[in-house]
């Protein structure tokens, strides 16, 4: 499969990919506290306790945010330690950026073409229909 940018995609890889829905990724990223948590996790793993102090919000609220990030696949939480530290997972973020890039290019190139069309309409006068 080759898309209109000439990128090719491997069917095997695609079908095996079990990355979460990008809607969940964007919804998770839409919240400023969750983005701040992700920024903190870029420096290394953190527990609910670690996050609750600097962010000055309750531990249950932090847990809720971590749950949203985990569902979106943006973090993983250790299962074998009581404190369940959270670790950043970068792949879904990359996909989100790829999606935005492709969206931007789709409309960017289309709008270039619209610009050309409008110029040619202007040269010929508006079509009378």
């Amino acid at each position: 499969m080759v898309d209109f940018w000439g990128h090719s995609y491997n069917h095997m890889v695609m079908n095996q990919a079990k990355s979460p829905d990008l809607n969940a990724v964007f919804a998770a990223l839409a919240d400023p506290t969750r983005r701040a948590i992700l920024a903190r996790l870029m420096q290394g793993e953190a527990t609910v306790q670690d996050l609750h102090e600097p962010f000055n919000i309750s531990q249950p609220a932090i847990s809720k945010h971590l749950k949203v990030l985990e569902t979106a696949g943006l973090i993983t939480r250790s299962q074998n330690r009581q404190s369940r530290p959270a670790t950043l997972k970068a792949a879904p973020m990359r996909e989100a950026v790829d999606w935005l890039t492709q969206f931007r290019r789709f409309w960017g190139v289309s709008f270039d073409q619209l610009d050309d069309l409008l110029r040619s309409m202007n040269d010929k006068g508006t079509p009378d229909d």
């Binding site: 499969m1 080759v2 898309d3 209109f4 940018w5 995609y9 695609m14 079908n15 990919a17 990355s19 979460p20 829905d21 990008l22 809607n23 964007f26 919804a27 990223l29 839409a30 919240d31 996909e95 999606w99 935005l100 969206f103 931007r104 290019r105 789709f106 409309w107 960017g108 190139v109 289309s110 709008f111 073409q113 619209l114 610009d115 050309d116 069309l117 409008l118 110029r119 309409m121 202007n122 508006t126 079509p127 229909d129």
Partner: protein, 123 residues
């Protein structure tokens, strides 16, 4: 549903609003510019709330199908629609290239006159 993530993109075109509106709403003109470097075939275009735009983009041996279900239409002002990837029978389906990408996007295009130019805001 105001907490849905939103992406917006805006551009000013050096053309009167009526021309830009025509380019968005006349399927013959729309097919000329919509879709980056592809052949765009518009199979249906019924611009009214509840109406549908069935779109095929062709490049090489590949076709990509999408359907736009119009939600509201304000002449020379705004169009909103649900923008969905679909299969060749126009049934909403994940994009064949990007199966976990959003299947449906609520899309709004707003046209506003800026002097002799026209601003197109896409959200």
């Amino acid at each position: 549903m105001t907490d849905l993530p939103m992406y917006s993109y805006s551009r000013d075109f050096d053309a009167p609003l009526a021309s830009v509106w025509a380019a968005w709403t006349d399927p013959k003109l729309l097919a000329v510019w919509y879709g980056p470097g592809v052949e765009t075939v518009i199979h249906a275009f019924d611009l009214r709330p509840g109406g549908v735009w069935l779109n095929e983009m062709k490049w090489g041996e590949t076709s990509d199908f999408s359907r736009m279900d119009f939600l509201s239409v304000t002449p020379e002002g705004q169009i909103t629609w649900n923008h969905s990837s679909c299969d060749s029978s126009w049934v909403i389906a994940p994009n064949q290239m990007m199966p976990n990408w959003p299947k449906t996007l609520l899309t709004t295009v707003t046209l506003t006159a800026q002097g002799a130019k026209t601003r197109v805001l896409l959200e």
